[in-house]
Protein backbone atom coordinates (compact mmCIF):
# COMPACT_ATOMS: atom_id res chain seq x y z
CA UNK A 1 0.00 0.00 0.00
CA UNK A 2 1.13 3.51 -0.74
CA UNK A 3 2.19 5.48 2.26
CA UNK A 4 0.38 8.82 2.33
CA UNK A 5 3.01 11.28 3.40
CA UNK A 6 2.32 14.97 3.83
CA UNK A 7 4.16 15.85 0.68
CA UNK A 8 2.35 13.31 -1.49
CA UNK A 9 -1.06 14.47 -0.30
CA UNK A 10 -0.07 18.08 -0.71
CA UNK A 11 1.03 17.44 -4.27
CA UNK A 12 -2.18 15.57 -5.12
CA UNK A 13 -4.41 18.25 -3.63
CA UNK A 14 -2.47 21.07 -5.29
CA UNK A 15 -2.24 19.53 -8.77
CA UNK A 16 -5.62 20.79 -10.05
CA UNK A 17 -4.81 24.31 -8.91
CA UNK A 18 -1.39 24.14 -10.44
CA UNK A 19 -2.65 22.86 -13.81
CA UNK A 20 -5.53 25.33 -14.08
CA UNK A 21 -3.71 28.35 -12.70
CA UNK A 22 -0.64 27.69 -14.77
CA UNK A 23 -2.57 26.82 -17.89
CA UNK A 24 -5.00 29.71 -17.63
CA UNK A 25 -2.90 32.58 -16.31
CA UNK A 26 0.83 31.97 -16.39
CA UNK A 27 1.04 30.28 -19.78
CA UNK A 28 -1.10 32.92 -21.55
CA UNK A 29 1.11 35.62 -20.09
CA UNK A 30 4.21 33.89 -21.45
CA UNK A 31 2.45 33.47 -24.78
CA UNK A 32 1.65 37.19 -24.68
CA UNK A 33 5.34 37.93 -24.16
CA UNK A 34 6.03 35.81 -27.25
CA UNK A 35 3.36 37.70 -29.19
CA UNK A 36 4.88 41.03 -28.21
CA UNK A 37 7.96 40.26 -30.33
CA UNK A 38 5.86 39.59 -33.41
CA UNK A 39 3.82 41.45 -35.95
CA UNK A 40 0.55 39.53 -35.87
CA UNK A 41 -2.51 39.70 -38.04
CA UNK A 42 -4.74 36.71 -37.54
CA UNK A 43 -6.91 37.37 -40.56
CA UNK A 44 -4.07 37.87 -43.01
CA UNK A 45 -2.30 34.92 -41.43
CA UNK A 46 0.66 37.15 -40.67
CA UNK A 47 2.97 36.14 -37.83
CA UNK A 48 6.41 37.72 -38.33
CA UNK A 49 9.20 38.00 -35.81
CA UNK A 50 10.21 41.63 -35.49
CA UNK A 51 12.29 41.66 -32.30
CA UNK A 52 11.83 44.58 -29.95
CA UNK A 53 10.24 46.80 -32.55
CA UNK A 54 6.83 46.86 -30.82
CA UNK A 55 8.50 48.13 -27.64
CA UNK A 56 10.41 50.80 -29.56
CA UNK A 57 7.14 51.84 -31.14
CA UNK A 58 5.56 52.09 -27.67
CA UNK A 59 8.24 54.42 -26.39
CA UNK A 60 7.75 56.77 -29.31
CA UNK A 61 3.94 56.52 -29.09
CA UNK A 62 2.64 59.82 -27.76
CA UNK A 63 -0.75 58.29 -26.90
CA UNK A 64 0.87 55.60 -24.77
CA UNK A 65 2.82 58.26 -22.92
CA UNK A 66 -0.34 60.28 -22.30
CA UNK A 67 -2.15 57.13 -21.21
CA UNK A 68 0.65 56.49 -18.70
CA UNK A 69 0.16 59.94 -17.20
CA UNK A 70 -3.62 59.42 -16.98
CA UNK A 71 -3.06 56.02 -15.37
CA UNK A 72 -0.77 57.51 -12.73
CA UNK A 73 -3.28 60.26 -12.02
CA UNK A 74 -6.16 57.77 -11.81
CA UNK A 75 -4.23 55.36 -9.56
CA UNK A 76 -2.99 58.09 -7.20
CA UNK A 77 -6.45 59.70 -7.01
CA UNK A 78 -8.29 56.49 -6.32
CA UNK A 79 -5.74 55.24 -3.79
CA UNK A 80 -5.93 58.49 -1.83
CA UNK A 81 -9.73 58.46 -1.96
CA UNK A 82 -9.93 54.81 -0.90
CA UNK A 83 -7.66 55.50 2.07
CA UNK A 84 -9.49 58.63 3.21
CA UNK A 85 -12.91 57.03 2.83
CA UNK A 86 -12.04 53.74 4.44
CA UNK A 87 -10.22 55.23 7.43
CA UNK A 88 -12.93 57.78 8.20
CA UNK A 89 -15.85 55.39 7.68
CA UNK A 90 -14.11 52.69 9.72
CA UNK A 91 -13.57 55.16 12.58
CA UNK A 92 -17.25 56.06 12.43
CA UNK A 93 -18.47 52.45 12.33
CA UNK A 94 -16.23 51.61 15.27
CA UNK A 95 -18.40 53.74 17.56
CA UNK A 96 -21.31 52.20 19.41
CA UNK A 97 -24.63 52.99 17.75
CA UNK A 98 -28.07 51.55 17.14
CA UNK A 99 -28.48 49.66 13.86
CA UNK A 100 -24.90 48.49 13.52
CA UNK A 101 -25.71 45.35 11.55
CA UNK A 102 -27.93 47.17 9.03
CA UNK A 103 -25.22 49.78 8.59
CA UNK A 104 -22.66 47.08 7.83
CA UNK A 105 -24.88 45.63 5.11
CA UNK A 106 -25.40 49.08 3.60
CA UNK A 107 -21.71 49.91 3.64
CA UNK A 108 -20.65 46.70 1.88
CA UNK A 109 -23.13 47.11 -1.01
CA UNK A 110 -20.82 49.03 -3.38
CA UNK A 111 -18.23 46.27 -3.17
CA UNK A 112 -20.68 43.59 -4.35
CA UNK A 113 -21.44 45.51 -7.53
CA UNK A 114 -19.47 44.70 -10.64
CA UNK A 115 -17.14 47.30 -12.09
CA UNK A 116 -19.60 47.43 -14.96
CA UNK A 117 -22.43 48.35 -12.57
CA UNK A 118 -20.19 50.80 -10.71
CA UNK A 119 -19.33 52.57 -13.95
CA UNK A 120 -22.98 52.62 -15.01
CA UNK A 121 -23.89 54.08 -11.63
CA UNK A 122 -21.21 56.70 -12.31
CA UNK A 123 -22.95 57.62 -15.55
CA UNK A 124 -26.30 57.92 -13.78
CA UNK A 125 -24.71 60.19 -11.18
CA UNK A 126 -22.74 62.54 -13.37
CA UNK A 127 -24.18 62.70 -16.89
CA UNK A 128 -25.58 65.97 -18.19
CA UNK A 129 -29.11 64.96 -19.20
CA UNK A 130 -30.55 63.03 -16.26
CA UNK A 131 -27.67 62.92 -13.73
CA UNK A 132 -28.44 62.49 -10.02
CA UNK A 133 -25.95 65.17 -8.96
CA UNK A 134 -27.42 67.62 -11.48
CA UNK A 135 -30.95 66.79 -10.32
CA UNK A 136 -30.03 67.52 -6.71
CA UNK A 137 -28.07 70.70 -7.43
CA UNK A 138 -30.88 71.97 -9.67
CA UNK A 139 -33.50 71.40 -7.01
CA UNK A 140 -31.34 73.18 -4.44
CA UNK A 141 -31.14 76.10 -6.86
CA UNK A 142 -27.35 75.92 -7.10
CA UNK A 143 -27.26 75.53 -10.89
CA UNK A 144 -29.34 77.11 -13.63
CA UNK A 145 -29.00 74.32 -16.16
CA UNK A 146 -27.59 70.81 -16.16
CA UNK A 147 -23.80 70.39 -16.25
CA UNK A 148 -22.17 67.49 -18.08
CA UNK A 149 -19.68 66.44 -15.42
CA UNK A 150 -18.37 63.62 -17.61
CA UNK A 151 -17.22 66.21 -20.13
CA UNK A 152 -15.33 68.26 -17.54
CA UNK A 153 -11.54 68.35 -17.02
CA UNK A 154 -12.07 66.50 -13.73
CA UNK A 155 -13.37 63.37 -15.39
CA UNK A 156 -10.40 61.32 -14.13
CA UNK A 157 -11.22 62.37 -10.56
CA UNK A 158 -14.85 61.35 -11.06
CA UNK A 159 -13.71 57.96 -12.35
CA UNK A 160 -11.41 57.62 -9.36
CA UNK A 161 -14.24 58.61 -7.03
CA UNK A 162 -16.53 55.91 -8.41
CA UNK A 163 -13.77 53.33 -8.28
CA UNK A 164 -13.00 54.31 -4.70
CA UNK A 165 -16.70 53.97 -3.92
CA UNK A 166 -16.52 50.40 -5.20
CA UNK A 167 -13.24 49.45 -3.48
CA UNK A 168 -13.49 51.28 -0.15
CA UNK A 169 -15.67 48.63 1.64
CA UNK A 170 -12.74 46.20 1.51
CA UNK A 171 -10.54 48.74 3.27
CA UNK A 172 -13.30 49.79 5.69
CA UNK A 173 -13.78 46.30 7.07
CA UNK A 174 -10.09 45.54 7.09
CA UNK A 175 -9.30 48.69 9.06
CA UNK A 176 -12.34 48.12 11.29
CA UNK A 177 -10.92 44.72 12.26
CA UNK A 178 -7.71 46.51 13.26
CA UNK A 179 -9.58 49.14 15.24
CA UNK A 180 -11.38 46.49 17.25
CA UNK A 181 -8.09 45.19 18.62
CA UNK A 182 -7.38 48.49 20.38
CA UNK A 183 -7.74 48.01 24.14
CA UNK A 184 -10.58 50.15 25.52
CA UNK A 185 -8.41 51.46 28.37
CA UNK A 186 -5.79 52.92 26.07
CA UNK A 187 -8.21 55.34 24.47
CA UNK A 188 -9.83 56.23 27.80
CA UNK A 189 -6.47 56.92 29.39
CA UNK A 190 -5.50 59.15 26.49
CA UNK A 191 -8.77 61.05 26.85
CA UNK A 192 -8.20 61.52 30.59
CA UNK A 193 -4.73 62.79 29.83
CA UNK A 194 -6.40 65.42 27.66
CA UNK A 195 -5.10 64.29 24.30
CA UNK A 196 -6.88 65.86 21.32
CA UNK A 197 -8.68 63.79 18.68
CA UNK A 198 -5.76 64.01 16.27
CA UNK A 199 -3.14 63.20 18.88
CA UNK A 200 -5.17 60.18 19.97
CA UNK A 201 -5.49 59.07 16.35
CA UNK A 202 -1.75 59.38 15.78
CA UNK A 203 -0.53 57.89 19.03
CA UNK A 204 -3.22 55.37 19.98
CA UNK A 205 -5.12 54.38 16.84
CA UNK A 206 -2.57 54.49 14.06
CA UNK A 207 -0.15 51.87 15.41
CA UNK A 208 -3.02 49.34 15.49
CA UNK A 209 -4.24 49.97 11.97
CA UNK A 210 -0.95 50.80 10.27
CA UNK A 211 -0.70 47.38 8.63
CA UNK A 212 -4.34 47.40 7.48
CA UNK A 213 -3.94 50.88 6.03
CA UNK A 214 -0.79 49.90 4.15
CA UNK A 215 -2.44 46.81 2.75
CA UNK A 216 -5.54 48.74 1.71
CA UNK A 217 -3.37 51.28 -0.08
CA UNK A 218 -1.43 48.64 -1.96
CA UNK A 219 -4.55 46.74 -3.01
CA UNK A 220 -6.15 49.99 -4.16
CA UNK A 221 -3.04 50.76 -6.22
CA UNK A 222 -2.95 47.38 -7.92
CA UNK A 223 -6.69 47.15 -8.53
CA UNK A 224 -6.99 50.62 -10.00
CA UNK A 225 -4.03 50.01 -12.30
CA UNK A 226 -5.74 46.83 -13.53
CA UNK A 227 -9.20 48.05 -14.34
CA UNK A 228 -10.36 48.65 -17.88
CA UNK A 229 -14.11 48.06 -17.37
CA UNK A 230 -14.56 51.29 -15.40
CA UNK A 231 -13.16 53.47 -18.16
CA UNK A 232 -14.77 51.57 -21.04
CA UNK A 233 -18.23 51.85 -19.52
CA UNK A 234 -18.19 55.17 -17.68
CA UNK A 235 -16.36 57.51 -20.04
CA UNK A 236 -15.15 55.50 -23.01
CA UNK A 237 -11.81 57.25 -22.56
CA UNK A 238 -13.40 60.61 -23.17
CA UNK A 239 -13.89 63.46 -23.49
CA UNK A 240 -11.38 63.12 -26.32
CA UNK A 241 -8.66 60.98 -24.85
CA UNK A 242 -8.52 62.72 -21.47
CA UNK A 243 -9.49 59.66 -19.42
CA UNK A 244 -7.63 57.10 -21.50
CA UNK A 245 -5.59 54.85 -19.19
CA UNK A 246 -3.05 52.27 -20.35
CA UNK A 247 -5.54 49.43 -19.94
CA UNK A 248 -8.10 51.35 -21.98
CA UNK A 249 -5.52 52.17 -24.64
CA UNK A 250 -4.58 48.50 -24.97
CA UNK A 251 -8.25 47.64 -25.24
CA UNK A 252 -8.67 50.27 -27.94
CA UNK A 253 -5.63 49.16 -29.95
CA UNK A 254 -6.83 45.61 -29.64
CA UNK A 255 -10.47 46.33 -30.43
CA UNK A 256 -9.96 48.73 -33.32
CA UNK A 257 -7.03 47.22 -35.12
CA UNK A 258 -6.67 43.74 -33.66
CA UNK A 259 -2.96 44.56 -33.47
CA UNK A 260 -2.20 41.71 -31.10
CA UNK A 261 1.58 42.17 -31.03
CA UNK A 262 1.33 45.82 -30.10
CA UNK A 263 -1.38 45.15 -27.52
CA UNK A 264 0.76 42.43 -25.96
CA UNK A 265 3.80 44.71 -25.80
CA UNK A 266 1.71 47.47 -24.21
CA UNK A 267 0.35 45.13 -21.58
CA UNK A 268 3.81 43.80 -20.76
CA UNK A 269 5.04 47.31 -20.14
CA UNK A 270 2.10 47.77 -17.78
CA UNK A 271 2.93 44.44 -16.14
CA UNK A 272 6.48 45.66 -15.56
CA UNK A 273 5.06 48.56 -13.59
CA UNK A 274 2.78 46.23 -11.67
CA UNK A 275 5.63 43.83 -10.88
CA UNK A 276 7.40 46.73 -9.18
CA UNK A 277 4.22 47.32 -7.19
CA UNK A 278 3.96 43.64 -6.24
CA UNK A 279 7.59 43.54 -5.15
CA UNK A 280 7.04 46.46 -2.85
CA UNK A 281 3.95 44.62 -1.61
CA UNK A 282 6.03 41.67 -0.52
CA UNK A 283 8.62 43.93 1.03
CA UNK A 284 5.81 45.42 3.10
CA UNK A 285 4.69 41.92 4.02
CA UNK A 286 8.08 41.01 5.38
CA UNK A 287 7.98 44.25 7.35
CA UNK A 288 4.78 43.02 8.95
CA UNK A 289 6.63 40.99 11.55
CA UNK A 290 8.26 44.09 12.88
CA UNK A 291 4.95 45.96 12.88
CA UNK A 292 3.25 43.14 14.75
CA UNK A 293 6.02 42.80 17.30
CA UNK A 294 5.79 46.48 17.90
Amino acid sequence: MVKWTDTKIAIILLTPLFILNFGLSIYPMIYSLYLSFHDVNLFLNKFDYIGGLQYLKLFSDRSYGEATMVTIRFVVDSTIMVLLLSISIALLLNRAFVGQSIMRVIVIMPWALSEFATATAGRYLFNGSYGFVDAILYRLGLIEKYIDFLGSPFVVELLAFMYAWHLAPLGIFFILAGLQTIPEDLNKQAKIDGASFFTRFRVVTLPFIRYAVLMTGIIATIESARTADMIIVMTGGGPGTSSQTITFYIYKVFFRGLDLGYGAAGSWLLMAGLIIAITSYFIVLSMRRRVMQY
Binding site: W4, D6, T7, I9, A10, L13, L14, P16, L17, L20, N21, L24, S25, M29, S32, L35, L42, L92, R95, G99, R104, V105, I106, V107, I108, P110, W111, A112, L113, S114, E115, F116, A117, T120, A121, Y124, S129, Y130, G131, F132, D134, A135, W165, G171, F173, F174, M215, I219, R226, A228, D229, F254, F255, L260, G263, S267, M271, I278, F282, S286
Partner: protein, 292 residues
Protein backbone atom coordinates in the same frame (compact mmCIF):
# COMPACT_ATOMS: atom_id res chain seq x y z
CA UNK B 1 -12.96 68.57 25.97
CA UNK B 2 -15.79 68.71 23.47
CA UNK B 3 -17.17 65.24 22.77
CA UNK B 4 -18.88 64.84 19.43
CA UNK B 5 -22.51 64.54 20.45
CA UNK B 6 -24.56 61.47 19.69
CA UNK B 7 -26.55 63.39 17.10
CA UNK B 8 -23.44 64.25 15.16
CA UNK B 9 -22.57 60.56 14.92
CA UNK B 10 -26.02 59.73 13.61
CA UNK B 11 -25.88 62.54 11.07
CA UNK B 12 -22.53 61.20 9.89
CA UNK B 13 -23.98 57.69 9.68
CA UNK B 14 -26.89 58.91 7.57
CA UNK B 15 -24.43 60.65 5.24
CA UNK B 16 -22.36 57.48 4.93
CA UNK B 17 -25.47 55.41 4.24
CA UNK B 18 -26.54 57.89 1.58
CA UNK B 19 -23.07 57.85 0.04
CA UNK B 20 -23.03 54.05 -0.02
CA UNK B 21 -26.42 53.39 -1.55
CA UNK B 22 -27.23 56.74 -3.17
CA UNK B 23 -26.03 55.71 -6.64
CA UNK B 24 -27.92 52.41 -6.43
CA UNK B 25 -30.98 54.23 -5.08
CA UNK B 26 -30.98 56.58 -8.06
CA UNK B 27 -30.80 53.77 -10.62
CA UNK B 28 -33.75 52.22 -8.79
CA UNK B 29 -35.71 55.49 -8.89
CA UNK B 30 -35.11 55.86 -12.62
CA UNK B 31 -36.13 52.24 -13.14
CA UNK B 32 -39.56 52.84 -11.56
CA UNK B 33 -40.20 56.17 -13.31
CA UNK B 34 -42.13 56.74 -16.53
CA UNK B 35 -39.84 57.29 -19.53
CA UNK B 36 -41.22 60.83 -20.02
CA UNK B 37 -40.42 61.86 -16.43
CA UNK B 38 -36.80 60.82 -16.69
CA UNK B 39 -35.95 63.17 -19.55
CA UNK B 40 -37.74 66.10 -17.87
CA UNK B 41 -35.63 68.63 -15.96
CA UNK B 42 -35.23 68.20 -13.05
CA UNK B 43 -35.28 64.43 -13.21
CA UNK B 44 -37.13 62.61 -10.41
CA UNK B 45 -35.20 61.86 -7.23
CA UNK B 46 -38.16 60.55 -5.25
CA UNK B 47 -40.65 57.85 -6.26
CA UNK B 48 -43.50 60.27 -7.07
CA UNK B 49 -45.36 58.09 -9.55
CA UNK B 50 -43.86 54.59 -9.30
CA UNK B 51 -44.49 52.01 -12.01
CA UNK B 52 -43.26 48.55 -12.88
CA UNK B 53 -43.84 49.19 -16.59
CA UNK B 54 -40.10 49.28 -17.34
CA UNK B 55 -39.54 45.87 -15.80
CA UNK B 56 -42.47 44.45 -17.75
CA UNK B 57 -41.18 45.92 -20.99
CA UNK B 58 -37.65 44.55 -20.72
CA UNK B 59 -39.12 41.09 -20.26
CA UNK B 60 -41.27 41.37 -23.37
CA UNK B 61 -44.61 42.63 -22.08
CA UNK B 62 -46.41 45.74 -23.27
CA UNK B 63 -47.55 48.49 -20.93
CA UNK B 64 -49.77 51.54 -21.00
CA UNK B 65 -48.58 54.93 -19.80
CA UNK B 66 -50.74 57.24 -17.61
CA UNK B 67 -52.01 59.12 -20.69
CA UNK B 68 -53.29 55.87 -22.14
CA UNK B 69 -50.60 55.52 -24.82
CA UNK B 70 -49.33 51.99 -25.40
CA UNK B 71 -45.69 51.28 -24.57
CA UNK B 72 -44.06 48.53 -26.59
CA UNK B 73 -41.66 45.92 -25.20
CA UNK B 74 -37.92 46.63 -25.38
CA UNK B 75 -36.37 45.83 -28.76
CA UNK B 76 -34.03 43.07 -27.64
CA UNK B 77 -35.95 41.52 -24.78
CA UNK B 78 -35.44 37.98 -26.12
CA UNK B 79 -31.66 38.50 -26.19
CA UNK B 80 -31.83 39.89 -22.66
CA UNK B 81 -33.44 36.73 -21.31
CA UNK B 82 -31.03 34.72 -23.44
CA UNK B 83 -28.18 36.61 -21.74
CA UNK B 84 -29.47 35.69 -18.29
CA UNK B 85 -29.70 32.04 -19.29
CA UNK B 86 -26.17 32.21 -20.75
CA UNK B 87 -24.87 33.68 -17.49
CA UNK B 88 -26.31 30.68 -15.66
CA UNK B 89 -24.97 28.19 -18.22
CA UNK B 90 -21.50 29.69 -17.72
CA UNK B 91 -21.72 30.49 -14.01
CA UNK B 92 -22.76 27.05 -12.76
CA UNK B 93 -19.82 25.07 -14.24
CA UNK B 94 -17.44 27.87 -13.23
CA UNK B 95 -18.69 27.58 -9.65
CA UNK B 96 -18.42 23.78 -9.59
CA UNK B 97 -14.94 23.64 -11.12
CA UNK B 98 -13.65 26.49 -8.96
CA UNK B 99 -14.94 24.91 -5.75
CA UNK B 100 -13.53 21.50 -6.65
CA UNK B 101 -10.12 23.03 -7.26
CA UNK B 102 -9.81 25.63 -4.54
CA UNK B 103 -11.05 23.63 -1.54
CA UNK B 104 -8.16 21.12 -1.55
CA UNK B 105 -5.66 23.75 -2.66
CA UNK B 106 -6.79 26.25 -0.04
CA UNK B 107 -6.58 23.55 2.62
CA UNK B 108 -3.04 22.56 1.73
CA UNK B 109 -1.78 26.13 1.41
CA UNK B 110 -3.50 27.22 4.61
CA UNK B 111 -2.61 24.21 6.75
CA UNK B 112 0.43 22.33 5.56
CA UNK B 113 4.02 23.34 5.79
CA UNK B 114 4.97 22.63 2.20
CA UNK B 115 8.28 23.43 0.59
CA UNK B 116 8.05 26.24 -1.91
CA UNK B 117 4.75 27.35 -0.37
CA UNK B 118 5.74 30.98 -0.45
CA UNK B 119 6.70 30.64 -4.11
CA UNK B 120 3.30 29.10 -4.86
CA UNK B 121 1.54 31.89 -3.00
CA UNK B 122 3.60 34.47 -4.87
CA UNK B 123 2.56 32.93 -8.20
CA UNK B 124 -1.05 32.90 -7.04
CA UNK B 125 -0.87 36.50 -6.00
CA UNK B 126 0.94 37.34 -9.21
CA UNK B 127 -1.89 35.90 -11.26
CA UNK B 128 -4.35 37.97 -9.24
CA UNK B 129 -2.53 41.12 -10.27
CA UNK B 130 -2.48 40.44 -14.03
CA UNK B 131 -4.67 43.08 -15.67
CA UNK B 132 -7.62 41.45 -17.48
CA UNK B 133 -6.69 43.28 -20.72
CA UNK B 134 -3.28 41.61 -20.64
CA UNK B 135 -4.88 38.17 -20.67
CA UNK B 136 -7.37 39.28 -23.28
CA UNK B 137 -4.73 39.49 -26.02
CA UNK B 138 -3.29 35.95 -25.73
CA UNK B 139 -6.72 34.46 -25.06
CA UNK B 140 -8.14 36.13 -28.14
CA UNK B 141 -5.29 34.87 -30.33
CA UNK B 142 -5.66 31.38 -28.92
CA UNK B 143 -9.46 31.35 -29.24
CA UNK B 144 -9.45 32.53 -32.84
CA UNK B 145 -6.95 29.83 -33.76
CA UNK B 146 -8.77 27.02 -31.95
CA UNK B 147 -12.33 28.14 -32.62
CA UNK B 148 -13.11 28.54 -28.91
CA UNK B 149 -14.24 32.12 -29.52
CA UNK B 150 -17.98 32.40 -29.10
CA UNK B 151 -18.37 29.12 -27.22
CA UNK B 152 -19.52 28.44 -23.67
CA UNK B 153 -16.35 26.45 -22.96
CA UNK B 154 -14.20 29.40 -23.97
CA UNK B 155 -16.01 31.73 -21.59
CA UNK B 156 -16.00 29.19 -18.75
CA UNK B 157 -12.23 28.78 -19.09
CA UNK B 158 -11.57 32.50 -19.08
CA UNK B 159 -13.83 33.10 -16.07
CA UNK B 160 -11.77 30.55 -14.17
CA UNK B 161 -8.73 32.85 -14.52
CA UNK B 162 -10.54 35.31 -12.26
CA UNK B 163 -12.20 33.01 -9.77
CA UNK B 164 -9.52 30.40 -9.07
CA UNK B 165 -6.71 32.65 -7.76
CA UNK B 166 -9.11 34.81 -5.74
CA UNK B 167 -11.06 31.96 -4.15
CA UNK B 168 -7.90 29.98 -3.35
CA UNK B 169 -6.66 33.11 -1.64
CA UNK B 170 -9.84 33.43 0.43
CA UNK B 171 -10.09 29.77 1.48
CA UNK B 172 -6.36 29.61 2.20
CA UNK B 173 -6.81 32.42 4.71
CA UNK B 174 -9.87 30.72 6.13
CA UNK B 175 -8.23 27.33 6.66
CA UNK B 176 -5.21 29.01 8.23
CA UNK B 177 -7.39 30.56 10.95
CA UNK B 178 -9.59 27.50 11.56
CA UNK B 179 -8.77 25.83 14.93
CA UNK B 180 -6.74 22.66 14.48
CA UNK B 181 -7.94 20.80 17.63
CA UNK B 182 -10.58 18.65 15.93
CA UNK B 183 -8.25 17.60 13.16
CA UNK B 184 -5.54 16.72 15.66
CA UNK B 185 -8.03 14.64 17.64
CA UNK B 186 -9.05 12.83 14.47
CA UNK B 187 -5.42 12.09 13.68
CA UNK B 188 -4.88 10.69 17.18
CA UNK B 189 -7.93 8.47 16.74
CA UNK B 190 -6.29 6.92 13.69
CA UNK B 191 -7.77 8.99 10.88
CA UNK B 192 -5.51 9.25 7.83
CA UNK B 193 -4.46 12.62 6.45
CA UNK B 194 -6.76 12.38 3.48
CA UNK B 195 -9.78 11.32 5.53
CA UNK B 196 -9.00 14.02 8.10
CA UNK B 197 -9.40 16.46 5.25
CA UNK B 198 -12.57 14.95 3.79
CA UNK B 199 -14.31 13.94 7.04
CA UNK B 200 -13.24 16.66 9.48
CA UNK B 201 -11.91 19.75 7.73
CA UNK B 202 -14.47 19.96 4.92
CA UNK B 203 -17.56 19.60 7.16
CA UNK B 204 -16.08 22.19 9.53
CA UNK B 205 -15.46 24.61 6.70
CA UNK B 206 -18.77 23.92 4.97
CA UNK B 207 -20.29 27.39 5.63
CA UNK B 208 -17.16 29.05 4.28
CA UNK B 209 -17.05 26.75 1.26
CA UNK B 210 -20.71 27.45 0.48
CA UNK B 211 -20.15 31.19 0.81
CA UNK B 212 -17.10 31.00 -1.43
CA UNK B 213 -19.11 29.11 -4.04
CA UNK B 214 -21.78 31.83 -4.00
CA UNK B 215 -19.10 34.52 -4.35
CA UNK B 216 -17.63 32.58 -7.29
CA UNK B 217 -20.97 32.62 -9.06
CA UNK B 218 -21.25 36.34 -8.35
CA UNK B 219 -17.83 37.01 -9.87
CA UNK B 220 -18.78 35.04 -12.97
CA UNK B 221 -22.13 36.87 -13.18
CA UNK B 222 -20.40 40.24 -12.78
CA UNK B 223 -17.65 39.63 -15.36
CA UNK B 224 -17.80 42.06 -18.27
CA UNK B 225 -14.65 42.47 -20.39
CA UNK B 226 -14.05 38.86 -21.49
CA UNK B 227 -17.74 38.25 -22.00
CA UNK B 228 -17.88 41.20 -24.35
CA UNK B 229 -14.79 40.48 -26.46
CA UNK B 230 -14.48 36.69 -26.39
CA UNK B 231 -18.15 35.81 -26.85
CA UNK B 232 -18.15 37.02 -30.44
CA UNK B 233 -21.43 38.84 -29.75
CA UNK B 234 -24.88 37.26 -29.89
CA UNK B 235 -25.53 33.62 -29.10
CA UNK B 236 -23.42 32.88 -26.01
CA UNK B 237 -22.98 36.41 -24.63
CA UNK B 238 -23.61 36.59 -20.85
CA UNK B 239 -26.02 39.06 -19.26
CA UNK B 240 -23.59 41.72 -18.02
CA UNK B 241 -21.70 42.35 -21.30
CA UNK B 242 -24.97 42.08 -23.24
CA UNK B 243 -26.22 45.15 -21.39
CA UNK B 244 -23.83 47.42 -23.33
CA UNK B 245 -25.56 46.33 -26.54
CA UNK B 246 -28.94 46.70 -24.86
CA UNK B 247 -28.20 50.26 -23.68
CA UNK B 248 -27.23 51.29 -27.22
CA UNK B 249 -30.48 50.01 -28.70
CA UNK B 250 -32.57 53.04 -29.68
CA UNK B 251 -35.84 51.44 -28.56
CA UNK B 252 -34.43 51.14 -25.03
CA UNK B 253 -35.27 54.26 -23.05
CA UNK B 254 -33.21 55.32 -20.04
CA UNK B 255 -35.80 54.04 -17.61
CA UNK B 256 -35.75 50.60 -19.25
CA UNK B 257 -31.95 50.57 -19.17
CA UNK B 258 -32.17 51.31 -15.45
CA UNK B 259 -34.62 48.45 -14.98
CA UNK B 260 -32.23 46.10 -16.78
CA UNK B 261 -29.37 47.38 -14.62
CA UNK B 262 -31.37 46.77 -11.44
CA UNK B 263 -32.13 43.23 -12.62
CA UNK B 264 -28.42 42.76 -13.19
CA UNK B 265 -27.28 44.01 -9.77
CA UNK B 266 -30.03 42.48 -7.63
CA UNK B 267 -28.18 39.15 -7.21
CA UNK B 268 -25.11 41.09 -6.07
CA UNK B 269 -27.11 43.08 -3.54
CA UNK B 270 -28.75 39.91 -2.21
CA UNK B 271 -25.38 38.19 -1.86
CA UNK B 272 -23.97 41.20 -0.03
CA UNK B 273 -26.92 41.28 2.36
CA UNK B 274 -26.95 37.55 3.08
CA UNK B 275 -23.18 37.00 3.26
CA UNK B 276 -22.22 40.29 4.94
CA UNK B 277 -20.95 38.58 8.09
CA UNK B 278 -18.87 36.12 6.09
CA UNK B 279 -17.50 38.66 3.63
CA UNK B 280 -16.33 40.99 6.36
CA UNK B 281 -14.67 38.21 8.34
CA UNK B 282 -12.71 36.67 5.46
CA UNK B 283 -9.43 38.24 4.66
CA UNK B 284 -9.85 38.98 0.99
CA UNK B 285 -6.95 41.37 1.02
CA UNK B 286 -4.82 40.07 3.87
CA UNK B 287 -2.24 37.46 2.92
CA UNK B 288 -0.50 37.99 6.25
CA UNK B 289 -2.40 35.12 7.87
CA UNK B 290 -0.66 32.65 5.60
CA UNK B 291 2.57 34.17 4.42
CA UNK B 292 5.36 35.27 6.79
Amino acid sequence: MARPSKYLVYIALILVAFYSIGPIYYIFIVSISWPKDVIRIPSPIFPTDPTIANYLRIFGYSAVDPMGNPLRPAGQWRELIRGMINSAIIGVPVTIITTAVVVPAGYVLGRYRVKAKNALIAILFGSRTIPPVSLLVPFYAFYVMTGLRGTYIGLILVHLTITIPLMTWILMGYFATLPTDLEKAARVDGCGRLSTFTKVAIPLAMPAIASTAILTFLYSWNEFLYGMLLSGGGEVQPFTPFLTTFFQNITVETSMAAAAMMTNITPALLVAAVLQRYITSIKIIDPGTVVV
